[in-house]
Each structure stands twice: as C-alpha cells, then as structure tokens.
C-alpha cells in the first residue's frame, strides 16, 4: 500500500481491514469486485457440474445416470445458476473494479449498499441450492418456469425458489442503481458522457435495463406465489387466469435480460480489440448508438420467444420484423470491431484470442438468432436443440469468453502480476475447441428434430449427442486450468508495469499495478 498518494487530508487513513472482517464489512469497490468475481466463479463451477450431469446422461440414448425427474432439476438449476449466479455477478464484479477507475472516481457512489447487494447473494443461492435436498426435490420446470408447471404442478420447493429470485432481483437492482449513480455523478472533471470508455457506457445502459426489468421478474414470481399460496388465479385457466400471460410477463423481463448478459461483453471486447490492434476504435459514437438501439429494441421483441403460443398473425409479423431489426445495430458492432482490427498492428495475447473468438462465435450465434426470428422457420426450430445451440453460442463463447478475456486483460492491474501466457493460451485453445465441439453439433441435432429438455432421445440423434458430450467434458475440465492460472497469478508471477499492455489506453492504466486500495481520491487531470 506504499503507492497511496493522498496522505495530507486523511488523518486515519487505512488499508484493508485484517482477516475476515475485511471481506464482510468492506465498502471498497475493489474488494467487492473481487468478492463478486470469486462468487460468480464458484457458481460457474457448480452450474458447470450440473451441465456435466446433463451431458453425461445424454452421452448415449437410454436412461443411465439420473432419473428424468432429477434431470429436469438439473436443467433448471443449471440455467438459473449460470445466468443469475455466473454471468450477472461476474459483470457486476467487473463493473465494481473498473467503472470507478475508468471514470476517475474514488469508489462507487453507494458503498454500503454495494456491500449489501453482494452479501445477500450467497444467501439467495444457498436457498436455491438447498432445495435439492428438500422433499420433492429442487425446482424442475426449466429456468423459464412457465406456469402452470411452476405453480399448480410444482414441487413444494418452488416457494424457496421464488424467495431466492426475489433476493437475486433485489441484489441486481441495488447493483444497477449503484452503477447509474456512480456514472452520473462521479465522473472526473473532463470525462463527458461521450468520452466515457465503452465498458462504462455498456454498463450504464445495462444498469438501466436491469432497473427496468428486474421488478417485472419480481412481479411474475410474486403472482406465482399468490397463485400457489393465496388462492389467486393469475395463471390458472381453471380459475379464469391466463397461462400465456405468464409468458408475456416473463419474456418482457427475459429478453432485456439476455442483453443484460451481452452488453457489458460488447464494452469489454471493444477495449481489448482496440488495445491489441494498437489502433483507435473505428467508430466510438456509432458503437454507443448501436448499444442504445439494441437496448431500446430489446423491449419490443419479447414475443419472439412465444411464436408457437398462438399469437394473432399481426403480432407474429410485428415481432418478427422488430426482431430482425436488431441485426442492424448488432451488425454495426461487428463491422466496427473488424474495421478496428483492419490495418492495425495486431498481437495475439490471451485476452485478444478470447476477444477474437468472441467476435466470430458471437456472430455465429447472432446469425442463428436471425434464422430463429423468421416465424415460419421458427415453427421448426422452436424448443429444439437449434435454440440450445443458438443461446449457448451467444452466452458461452459470447458472455463467458468476454468475462475470461476481461480477467486476463485486467488481472495484471488487479494483482500486479502477469498471468502465465503459455497456460493462458492453452486454456484458450482448450476452451475454444471444447465450446465448438459441444455446441456446433447441437445445431445439427436440433435441425434433425431433437427437442430441448429431453432426458432421452431417439436413436438418430445418438452420434452427435456423443460428440457434444465429449466437447462438454473437455470444456468443463479446462475451466479448472483457468482456476489454476488465476490462483497462480494471485500468488505471484512476473511483475506487471503500470500500463501493462503496450496499446492500453484509459485511466485505469495510469495507476500503479497492483491498483492501490484507494485510487483517485483526488480527481485525475484529463487533457
């Protein structure tokens, strides 16, 4: 902590507290960022273990390892844990670490709420996971929990599920409010809105999406709670309710939610491509406008998840056209990344490898998304493995690769040590091959007609399912290497310079490595 510069106006200045209280009571954005990142990694491993169970059961036709009842619990928890426990907290962790440093602020605007928003999360997931040991088993209705399967026909643990979703929602809303308040109020003088780093922009937009839709999710689960325990019939047709209403509410949350999981990735990848191409981002303002239009469009496309529920023709056509429109700003982003690389001076360190893989594989996921938007074709794709392949392409080599890229990119700043480049590249190639071997064949399986959420399948799907399982095991076990690399970097390694990367630009690279416990207690000077 020798690098702390401000000492004249800070009588009882302190570094981190000692022992466990440092983590329990911390209000420091860097500590909380670290907590979020480790927590999300733990959830990533738990959710991943569930994916391994799923792929092991699907390795061959027939029921071998688990019963269909337990299989359904696995797919449900895998989805919930990866989304709410893996990807979202990881992005919040990155926001905590980076947003204050990138805008030259000393900390997040609401540090105590920051502590609270993290520390309620472990309880939410403890409740959710404990449902595995309850009578009747864990929630088994898929992460989309369509009523009435999740109400009248749900196991008793559904009430615990509802409670844990409420807590996750509260945590996300607090985190999002904190980000908005920080960005709006605490930018160093000279950091105008259109001068903010793209990661900050992406998080500002994400935070607004979170504030807009997490309450909708809370509303949906509260209505479920009422239906289950208080005799209402929101979603019960026998009582005059409407099961399709549930899906409208859920996807009104759910579609912005999927952009919540990808917008911060856009920010991260833009930084990394810029740095390792040693060239200014091709179109900063068009990137900002593209993110804004994607965010706004995300509110008017929700029913493309529901093309088969029997919507009227006009609604199908509206949602098809609106959904296809999203391809335009998404295309703008991809073209911008490619144009940034063009005639740059490129090197391929691990973060860049992950970022390039992100652009390629996310584009594949985006293109299959475009195919899914075509209603008549969606009648054939809907709820098959084609959809599974699509959203895993945008979530795994999309969101998760961007998080890994971010960790490799910023970990020298966090720990002061360089990661092992050789191991990092090995981790990249294992993950890259694993992801593609897992999810590419799922396009085939889906088009050939295998529905999703099936614990067992007809024989014509056997070969590619086996390939997919092999890929999944490869990908899954490669992540232990990631854990090893991160631990090794935390423990020691080649010392990082302040700028770390030759092409890196931005305020976070102007502070020492590792970043001091308190940064920018006096605002930096921006030219």
């Amino acid at each position: 902590m020798s690098a702390v510069i401000e000492n004249h106006h800070d009588d009882h200045h302190h570094g981190p507290a000692e022992g466990i209280t440092r983590w329990l009571f911390t209000t420091n954005h860097k500590d909380i960022g670290t907590l979020y990142l480790w927590f999300s990694f733990a959830m990533f491993l738990i959710g991943g273990a569930m994916a391994m169970v799923i792929r092991a059961e699907l390795f061959q036709p027939g029921m071998q390892i688990v019963e269909p009842e337990f299989y359904n619990q696995m797919i449900t928890l895998h989805g919930l844990i990866m989304i709410f426990g893996g990807v979202m907290p990881a992005f919040v962790g990155l926001a905590n670490w980076l947003v204050p440093m990138q805008i030259g602020a000393p900390d997040m605007a609401l540090p105590r709420m920051n502590n609270l928003s993290f520390w309620i999360l472990p309880f939410a997931f403890f409740i959710l996971l404990s449902s595995l040991f309850m009578e009747g088993g864990a929630p088994n209705f898929g992460w989309t929990f369509y009523a009435p399967l999740s109400t009248t026909y749900a196991p008793p643990s559904v009430t615990f599920f509802i409670f844990s979703v409420h807590i996750m929602g509260a945590s996300s809303i607090m985190g999002a409010i904190n980000v908005v308040v920080t960005i709006m109020n605490m930018r160093a003088p000279g950091v105008g809105l259109m001068k903010m780093p793209l990661f900050v922009w992406s998080w500002l937009i994400t935070a607004y999406l979170l504030i807009a839709v997490m309450p909708v999710l809370a509303g949906a689960v509260t209505m479920m709670l009422m239906d289950i325990h208080f005799g209402t019939s929101f979603f019960n047709a026998a009582g005059g309710g409407d099961p399709v209403l549930f899906q409208h509410i859920f996807w009104f949350f759910g579609h912005p939610e999927v952009y919540i999981m990808i917008l911060p990735a856009f920010g991260i990848v833009s930084h990394i491509i810029e740095t390792f191409s040693r060239k200014q981002l091709f179109g900063y303002s068009s990137m900002v406008w593209a993110m804004l239009s994607i965010a706004i469009l995300s509110f008017v496309v929700w029913a493309h998840h529901m093309f088969t529920v029997g919507l009227p023709l006009a609604a199908e056509i509206f949602f098809m056209w609106a959904t296809m429109l999203i391809a335009v700003p998404t295309g703008v982003k991809v073209f911008n990344w490619v144009a940034t690389m063009f005639r740059g001076s490129i090197t391929f360190e691990t973060p860049m490898l992950f970022a390039i893989a992100f652009v390629v594989l996310f584009t594949i996921g985006g293109l299959s998304g475009l195919m899914l938007a075509i209603v008549p074709a969606d009648f054939q794709y809907h709820d098959t493995y084609f959809v599974v392949a699509h959203f895993h392409y945008v979530l795994v080599p999309g969101a998760i690769f961007s998080i890994m890229a971010a960790v490799y990119y910023w970990i020298p700043k966090w720990t002061g040590n360089m990661y092992d480049e050789r191991l990092g590249k090995l981790h990249f190639w294992l993950s890259f091959i694993g992801v593609n071997v897992t999810f590419f064949p799922q396009h085939f399986i889906g088009l050939a007609g295998m529905p999703r959420r099936y614990p067992d399948y007809a024989l014509q799907f056997a070969d590619w399912n086996m390939v997919s399982s092999v890929g999944a095991f490869l990908f899954g076990f490669s992540q232990l290497l990631f854990l090893f690399i991160v631990l090794k970097t935390v423990m020691g390694g080649k010392k990082a310079t302040d700028q770390v990367w030759e092409g890196a630009k931005g305020l976070e690279w102007s502070v020492a490595s590792p970043a001091p416990y308190h940064t920018f207690s006096t605002p930096p000077k921006i030219d």
Binding site: G62, M63, P68, E69, M134, G136, Y146, L149, P155, P156, A237, D242, P243, V244, K279, Q280, L281, F282, G283, Y284, S286, T308, V309, G310, L313, E316, M320, W321, M324, A327, G331, F335, M341, R343, G344, S345, I346, F348, V359, T363, I364, L370, M371, I374, P376, A377, F379, Q380, H382, D383, F444, A448, G449, R453, Y454, A458, L459, Q460, A462, D463
Partner: protein
C-alpha cells in the same frame, strides 16, 4: 446450366454419402439438416430455412474473411505501425443500409408464408388434440371417435435392459389416422400443463395450453407414417409422449373410422356386464400402468413430497366414495386431475385395483367398485 450441374453434383454426392453410410443402419452422422417436409407448407418452410441459412453463411464468410485477412496481414510483425483512420460516414451508412435491405429480402417471403399458414377456415376433418401429462388425446369431432396415444416403447429399452428398437421413443400404442388429400384441422389444447404438438413433416408446432384452443391445419398428399414430439417442457415424462400420424387412402380411413366406432359400442356394452373382482383387477392394472404409474409408481408408493402414496392411503383403504370423487373431479390445487374422460369400466377397474393391490385389500375394507357405481355417481348431476 451451372445450377443444373450443381444440382446433379449434389445428387451424386448425396448418393455417394448414402452408400458410404450404408454399413451403419442408422446413418445419424448425416442427420445434419432440417428434413424436407411432406406438405406444400412444410416444403415452403424448408426452402425459407435454406434461403436464410445461405444468406447467413455468405454474410458470415464475408465478415470473417476480412477479419482473418487482418489477422494474417496486419500483425505487429508485418505491420508495425498501425493505421490511424477511424470513422467514415459513407462506410457506416453503407453497413447500416445494406443489412437493412437484406433483412427486408428475408422478411417479405417469410411473411407471405406465414399468411398462408394462418388460414382459419374449418377443415374437412377436425381433430381435437389434448395434451395430458404425459400422453395425447385425439377426438375426431365429426366422427365421435376418441382415444389416447401413449408411448409404447418398453421401459426395459429405456433402462438399457434390452436392445432398443428402430422407433425407440417414437412409437405409440395408437396412431392418429388421417386420409390423404383432405384438409385436416387440429384444435390443440391441454388438460393440465402446457404441452406443444410438433409434427416436423407438416411444419406444425402449436403449444397446447390449458384454457386455450390453438389451431393448425395440413393437407398431406403422401401416405405414410409420420413421427413428431412434445416440445414444451411438461414435467418428468416430457421426453416420453411422442406423436405418430398415419396418413392413409380415403377408403382405408373410412374403414378405420367404422372399426373405431364398433369398438366404442362394444366398450359401452361392457358397462352393463357383471364384473368379478379378478376381472376388474386385471383390467385395472392395465389402466393403472397407462394412467397412474408415472406419478403413483408401480407399487403405489408415490414419490415422497410430490405424489401421495396409494398403498396404505386412508382413502384407498376405507373411503370408497371419496376415492371415486377424486378420480372424477381431481384435487384442487394439486397435480391430480380429473380422469372423468376414462370409460366407466376403466374407472371402476382402476379404483378397484388400487383398493385391492399392494396389500390394501387386507389392510382396509377391501370394497370394490363396479362400473354401475360410476354411472350412479354421474347421474344425479345430469
């Protein structure tokens, strides 16, 4: 000319592949794409799928080739000094407008096909399809024919005790039969949770939702057996409620309808017959294994916390009237639905079975239920 050549080439390549794949009977390595449908609409959907697929492939290849070229030509070694350019309005407008136009080119034919699919007129034959956990019921509205279709794959095949048959998980005990060339309309709904009725060969996928009736139609010109599946997670046996449609010539269809009606009449006669306990037990076991075993399990032990046990249950031991009532009305707020769609004989048999089996006869009053009891239960309400 060139296209014709390509077509021929692809044909001969396909043949070659088929030949190579011949040794393995289930040539699944080549199950890579959507299968072309059998109806006009499903063919149109297939063409649409291929059109957008190739457009996506071309877009992807264009973008990636520029990117890979940069990765090859613009490395730090080959290009140590990066260019300085950024922002170019003409280029940016172009890469906004051109994708927009491509999208319209895709959306227009898609919308046209969709309009064709959304045809609301009544069919020549109207079949009500109802999803149940975990089976499908088919009611021919004009012909007074009604039956359930259950998975017919043996449990031993599922649990790997015997080799799996050719139509593993794609076979049912009773196929939906429709005639060629007639417009058949499906009215799709559900009794408990949401299911989804998918028949890929007809490009029909419609959610079966309790309280809603969705419709879909088809005209099939080629006789044959077509297989489909449930595509909305509906509980533990979601993967085990397939759909099989048999398309036959008109006269064969008429004969089938005739036989089904005869069968129904015979079944009705059974209601007035005198039943012995043994006969009821035998029939009841069959009904139990089709309708009840998924939740209440083979030994009537249920699943703790979700599905109550029948073995040793107070109702199955002593409360005959309540037992009948539960089967007829279901249990409010629980997964137990009304089974009033079963015949009087089936209901009497299955209630008798669950009052007699698993030691219930010895433990309780051992009273049996005969079809007339069910008729009596129904009567005062009419």
């Amino acid at each position: 000319m060139f296209f014709k050549f390509l077509k021929n080439l692809s044909k001969s390549l396909t043949l070659l592949f088929m030949f190579l794949a011949a040794p393995s009977l289930r040539a699944d390595w080549f199950a890579l794409n959507m299968t072309r449908g059998t109806t006009e609409i499903s063919n149109e959907v297939f063409e649409l799928h291929m059109l957008i697929f190739w457009i996506c492939v071309v877009i992807g290849l264009l973008v990636f080739s520029v990117m890979f070229y940069s990765m090859w030509a613009h490395t730090k070694k080959k290009n140590p000094i990066p260019a300085k350019f950024h922002e170019n309005h003409k280029l940016e407008i172009a890469w906004t407008i051109i994708p927009f136009l491509i999208l319209i080119a895709m959306a227009v034919p898609a919308s046209k096909t969709l309009v064709k699919i959304y045809d609301d007129e009544a069919g020549d034959i109207n079949i009500q399809v109802t999803g149940y956990q975990w089976k499908w019921q088919y009611r021919y509205l004009e012909d007074d024919v009604s039956f359930f279709a259950n998975l017919s794959t043996d449990l031993d095949e599922i649990y790997n005790l015997v080799p799996k048959g050719e139509n593993y998980l794609q076979e049912v005990d009773e196929m939906v039969v429709i005639p060629v060339g007639k417009k058949v309309r499906f009215l799709i709904t559900a009794n408990d949770v949401i299911h989804s009725w998918w028949m890929p060969a007809f490009a029909i996928k419609q959610d079966a939702i309790p309280g809603f009736v969705n419709t879909a139609w088809t005209v099939v010109d080629k006789p044959g057996i077509y297989r489909g599946k449930c595509t909305e997670l509906c509980g533990k046996n979601h993967g085990f409620m397939p759909i099989v449609v048999k398309v036959v010539e008109q006269d064969e269809y008429d004969e089938w309808v005739f036989n089904k009606r005869e069968e129904a009449i015979k079944l009705a006669e059974l209601t007035t017959k005198d039943w012995s306990t043994a006969e009821l037990m035998e029939r009841g076991q069959t009904v139990y294994e089709v309708n009840c075993v998924a939740c209440h399990q083979t030994e009537g032990q249920g699943i703790a916390g979700i599905f109550p046990a029948l073995a040793g249950s107070e109702i199955a031991l002593y409360e005959k009237d309540r037992h009948i009532e539960i089967l007829m009305e279901g249990v409010q707020g629980a997964a137990m639905n009304s089974f009033d769609y079963l015949s009087e004989v089936e209901l009497a048999a299955v209630i008798t079975y669950s009052r007699q089996a698993w030691g219930n006869a010895e433990a309780g009053d051992g009273e049996i239920v005969i079809p007339k009891d069910i008729v009596d239960y129904k009567e005062p309400k009419i």
